[in-house]
């Protein structure tokens, strides 16, 4: 079986180009320091995996056979869904971590503000505005 019988060439072209653009965009964001390498590592790895599945459909066929998926294209859709889920979960983890940090920061703010008020009172500087 040749590659185009596994996945239609148009689909391969479109998916490959999209993923390639996405990969390029992620790399560009990293270079411009708009995306931390730590946070984007999962994007790089998962996009590369997705790209290799599209470029080398033989890999996709193996995956489809293991999972008993009749049509390799369906395995591709399943993989795409998984890809989104994994990256979404990692985003949620980052959001949770940032929420915990924001909470602690605002608590520190509250405490420092109270300390300043105390200090101003002892120094008779009058209330801050």
């Amino acid at each position: 079986m040749n590659d185009s019988s596994l996945l239609p060439s148009e689909l391969r072209l479109f998916a490959g180009a999209s993923l390639f653009l996405l990969l390029g965009w992620v790399l560009r964001l990293i270079r411009r320091q708009e995306l931390g390498l730590r946070e984007s590592l999962l994007w790089l790895v998962s996009t590369s995996v997705a790209l290799s599945l599209v470029l080398f459909p033989a890999l996709l066929l193996r995956v489809a056979q293991i999972l008993h998926v009749q049509v390799p294209a369906n395995a591709l859709f399943a993989a795409a869904f998984l890809y989104v889920l994994v990256n979404l979960l990692s985003t949620t983890i980052a959001v949770s971590r940032n929420a915990a940090r924001a909470r602690r920061l605002s608590q520190e703010c509250a405490i420092l503000r109270a300390e300043i008020t105390e200090l101003r009172r002892t120094l008779k500087l009058g209330p801050q505005r």
Partner: protein, 239 residues
Amino acid sequence: MRTLVIVPAFNEALNLPSVIQQLRGCDCEDVCVVDDGSTDDTCNVAARMGAIVLRNPFNLGIGGAVQTGYLWARDHGYDVAAQIDGDGQHDPAYLRAALELIASGKADVVVGGRFGAANGFRSSFVRRLGIRYLAWLIRLRCGARVSDPTSGFRVVGRAGIELFAQHYPSDYPEPEAIALAQRSGLRVTEISVRMRAREHGKSSIDSFRTLYYLLKVSLALLLLPSLRRREAFDTNLAV
């Protein structure tokens, strides 16, 4: 024993004066009001009454607010911290009994429960059922015997202050905090306190949220981290 009374308050300008006055009447000198992003005059009212005011820049919810108080207690070397709701439901007269339990070393965390003998606490059947279920779940998960785990009336000693300053759950934190304390080797006891009806405003828990409350707290209790794991997920991210 230096004692700090933590009063979490969100838009409680009307209730605060009487709460603070009652606390003064019970020899509680150090009162710390945590203004959790109120939009009313809460922080000015508290300051005028001579309380220490900790003002969160935005609303963190009851868990985050209370923890702000515990952080203050920890950093200023208090031996005991008491937690009293800012809505006037808790009678500070019961603080003395709780403080004695801590001072005598019989307990590390004292919860003021509403279901004791000398108690006229009335609430809806569903709510009582929910509270009993949570009490059962806590006992099952970590062995703490508390009949009213949702009560916000708490008194904790030094070890409890250290623990809660470091880790305090958010989003309906009361039952989880008990489990956390028990899991961390603190002794949790309960005394019976009488609750009053709120003077102004409404409770933050309406019937609609009860289901979410039960679900969230159940999950939290079932997924209670072991001690070792909890260290790995330390929320104190200061480097």
